[in-house]
Symmetry: C2
Subunit: 549 residues, 2 copies
């Protein structure tokens, strides 16, 4: 062995055996985060936005470096180029996304999880993590379905059944639910071995139908489209049913859609209800949907990725009434359970449902083993369930209730602020803790009602442009952040309008911060080019209705 | 607000604003892991195994606790009940699974990643993490396909294309590859809008064929069966082709399988080559497979989840020759890139392939944006790519080469030890760093060749029982660990036998440790009940061939 080779080998062993010194560059950052993560993020995440094109220059090499880099050198790069240019998702003024500040205990517990590096696919590489994950699934199952003690005693650790599946997020959870629903509908019968074995085309023959469809409202999450594609159903068969004025599925339209499918001899694989739409936080009429699903005998899935934890609240739980009749429910842990990114779950009312997607392998997932991997879409998986277990234990039902109640109250107060301010327009009032609004100056609001639809449309187009521009500049300034989306408002008929979207899940987002968000937006609007944009509306109005502005 | 409510609210704010004190129970564990993770694991993970049924008792409550628990109290529970009963995956004597020790820098860097809590689905919640992840994909792409500088300059940050998809692991990577292959084969044509829109049954009509199939050897990973089910193809259409004596796909059998499908008018959606089978670490003849895929014009996917990083080695890279002709390649980062659990990738030769699964949504993933979420199966995802970026930068090509070379050399030495020991039988020799073997006493090996197949089968059944028992007791003793699987050995025809499976990826697994693994197995075999089991073979032989033993 050459001297260089020996030196390289020694260095290699070092990175596996010698911890980072506390006074090293990386050790110091580690300490700083341990001591005060909020302070660390405040100091190191740069507020003012560099353009993405500019940031890309720091990540443009496609060649893997030949020689090793010192950890200290790499850490400096991470600090200056990655951390500095990341998004301060935990900042209380960042109320545009579904990622909140994390409880402090999550970070040191995450380190334990990372250090243990368990693989939940099988007991041999996860041991106690397997029953722990099953317990988490049982706890969430019970939160939704409120079964008897004896039910959970029977199923919680039953190796041949599962109360749900833990996964990397709500998308995989929704896909898993629809996968199980599809395979159950197309199960073995007579000389047909089931869709899982024989495939979808043969399954349609067996069911003697022309296709399968999924029914959901227009506000359904984009993961459902992915599921329709992935499962071979086709996006065209994801039927987007019209909503009422409150973004809830319209039951009459649902029935019509169902009847149309019947006429085409298309079977409904699942009806999906939403408990907290991503864009507006509204909840579908779950009781009526459950009735309908029972009537037409189809799988009823509820996507409660966002709204599920509302079940913790004695005050607001009633909003989700009917969820306990769902065959499956998606809940994201990295949203309102305040767990770091990458944790979702799907729960199944009937512990037998997941057997429709069961699979085994020789070297792992042996039949009858307690390996969790036999009922999940993913294979190797980390022990993230530990952090859900920690949240449920440390925060408890009462703590989560407080978080939910706080968010909903704050959203209502924010809605009041918006309504109270003559130059803002509340587009969707919060049912949970999400609302949408836009800047719409009082003088324009007053005139708009009297204009014809063509001019209204034109004004909305200009306001859309304004909203986009305000949202962008606010984000770039880096002090506060709201997101934006496009949706229909009953006030403007079928025209989609662009709106600010606000999610109030961060308990540190105080009323002062909300006031500051509105103040900053007014401030941005007052800049000369945006005032000019607004006055272009006046021109248009003058052209066609001289006295309107 | 009542006094209790106020107190609860204050406590709630505390968990979001007050860091764990360094001298608290959790703070102390955090410090201990920072200082010396190996020492922490050594001290806290209990070697001796409790039964799973016993462990389950600690995780049997299905009710979420009403009231909060003190962090210190919960941490004590975690330490005593979860950490103590987890698996010491990093122990150098644990050579049965694909999870190795982690380089030390991974833990503090993981903490930075967790603290930032970015969501890679869209730029608005990940900023610099988006170009960083795209860079990682480009680096791995280049490792495999060795494109020109100009190629990567063009595509690395191109918003409408992707060189690959980052995901939670190899299973999602394989599914993504086959999903893209299926949709590309069944793309839009004439009045058919494509499978993604219209679904699989209409796609078969459009292609004028009776079904789709996936071809892979018998050693294919179980995720491919999941993919066949999920994608609506059906497990029956995952055609498992026979292997040669070295666990590599038999090309003549492949051609026969293909011809049979042709006769049934079934189109091949993808041919899958394996670079490092999960059970034996063998590599398919990728050049011949690439030729065949080109001849029949089908998508060629290589599952290099395990073996991909062999490309770092100047000495062993040639084993993977042909991989550069694959349309897509899976590589797991949590295997031989030494990243914590939950990181995989799929790379696509042609940057246009992933457009076959592209999807958009109003509030995120707007068309033309650089949001990574438009090309991934998963939705919200953590910034795990950062840890791959760190590994590639800090360890470098030379470092990974050393790790690969070390593992392969060590596996060869372990194979020599096994062969040298008269009471062990090497079942599959290592091509990479995986091998299988079993305990098979010399006296029995000598006789076995002369016995008829029925008696050989009987003896193998008894040896299977012995292997299972030894593996179980070794695991339970907790000092060392090998896994087990069942496979065919050319020596015993079509009968599957149970074998020990060893994976040598932990650079700290020295020769001494390997000797200790064998010594412990001999020791277990010497226990009276297992000796009795072995002597039952003598009885059988005496019964049917008195002089044989």
């Amino acid at each position: 062995m050459t001297e260089t080779a020996r030196a390289n080998l020694e260095n290699l062993y070092r990175i596996f055996t010698v911890p980072e010194a506390p006074d090293s560059t990386l050790g110091a950052i580690d300490q700083a985060i341990s001591k005060n993560v909020a302070d660390f993020l405040q100091k190191h995440v740069v507020a003012l936005e560099r353009s993405l094109e500019d940031i890309e220059k720091d990540f443009s090499h496609s060649q893997i470096p030949d020689e090793p880099t010192f950890v200290s050198e790499y850490t400096t790069f991470v600090k200056e180029k990655l951390v500095a240019q990341s998004v301060h998702t935990a900042a209380p003024g960042f109320i545009g996304h579904m990622t909140s500040a994390l409880p402090y205990f999550m970070l040191p517990l995450s380190r334990i999880m990372m250090a243990l590096n368990q693989n939940l696919v099988k007991v041999e590489t996860s041991k106690a993590f397997t029953p722990m994950e099953r317990q988490v699934l049982a706890m969430l199952h019970r939160l939704i379905y409120a079964g008897e003690d004896s039910f959970y005693q029977q199923w919680i650790h039953d190796s041949r059944h599962a109360l749900g599946a833990f996964c990397s997020g709500g998308t995989i959870a929704n896909i898993t639910a629809l996968w199980a629903a599809r395979n159950r509908l197309c199960g073995p019968r007579d000389d047909f071995a089931g869709l899982a074995i024989e495939g979808l085309p043969r399954a349609l023959d067996s069911l003697n139908c022309a296709g399968l469809a999924i029914l959901v409202s227009r506000r359904g999450h984009y993961s459902l489209g992915k599921a329709a594609d992935l499962l071979g159903i086709g996006r065209k068969q994801l039927i987007l049913v019209d909503t009422d004025a409150n973004n809830r599925i319209d039951m009459a339209s649902l029935r019509e859609a169902y009847n149309r499918l019947q006429q085409q001899n298309i079977r409904v694989l699942a009806l999906v209800g939403i408990a907290g739409t991503t864009e507006t936080g509204h909840i579908d009429p779950l009781v009526e949907m459950a009735d309908f699903a029972a009537e037409v005998a189809c799988h009823f899935h509820v996507d409660a990725a966002w709204g599920g934890p509302t079940l913790f609240s004695d005050t607001h739980r009633h909003l989700l009434r009917g969820i306990e009749r769902a065959d499956s429910v998606t809940i994201d842990a990295h949203k309102q359970l305040y767990v770091p990114m990458g944790a979702g779950m799907v729960l199944f009312k009937d512990p037998h449902t997941l057997t429709a997607i069961e699979h085994h392998a020789n070297y792992i997932l042996r039949e009858g083993s307690k390996d969790l991997g036999s009922h999940t879409l993913e294979g190797s998986r980390p022990g993230k369930a530990m952090l859900v277990h920690a949240g449920l234990s440390i925060i408890g039902r009462r703590g989560y209730e407080l978080l939910i109640d706080l968010g909903i109250e704050r959203a209502r107060r924010f809605a009041e602020m918006i309504v109270a301010h003559p130059d803002f327009e509340l587009v969707t009032a919060p049912e949970l803790n999400i609302l949408t609004y836009r800047y719409h100056p009082a003088w324009l609001q007053q005139q708009m009602a009297n204009l014809d639809s063509q001019r209204r449309q034109h004004i909305n187009d200009v306001l859309d442009q304004l909203t986009r521009e305000v949202q962008k500049r606010q984000r770039e300034a880096g002090k506060t952040f709201v997101s934006r989306t496009r949706l229909r408002s009953p006030v403007y008929g079928t025209q989609q309008i662009t709106v600010f979207r606000v999610v109030l899940a961060n308990p540190l987002a105080t009323d002062d911060i909300l006031e500051a968000v509105l103040a900053e937006q007014r401030d941005i609007v007052s800049s000369p080019d945006l005032q000019e944009l607004l006055s272009s509306i006046t021109d248009i109005c003058q052209l066609t209705a001289p006295n309107c502005c």
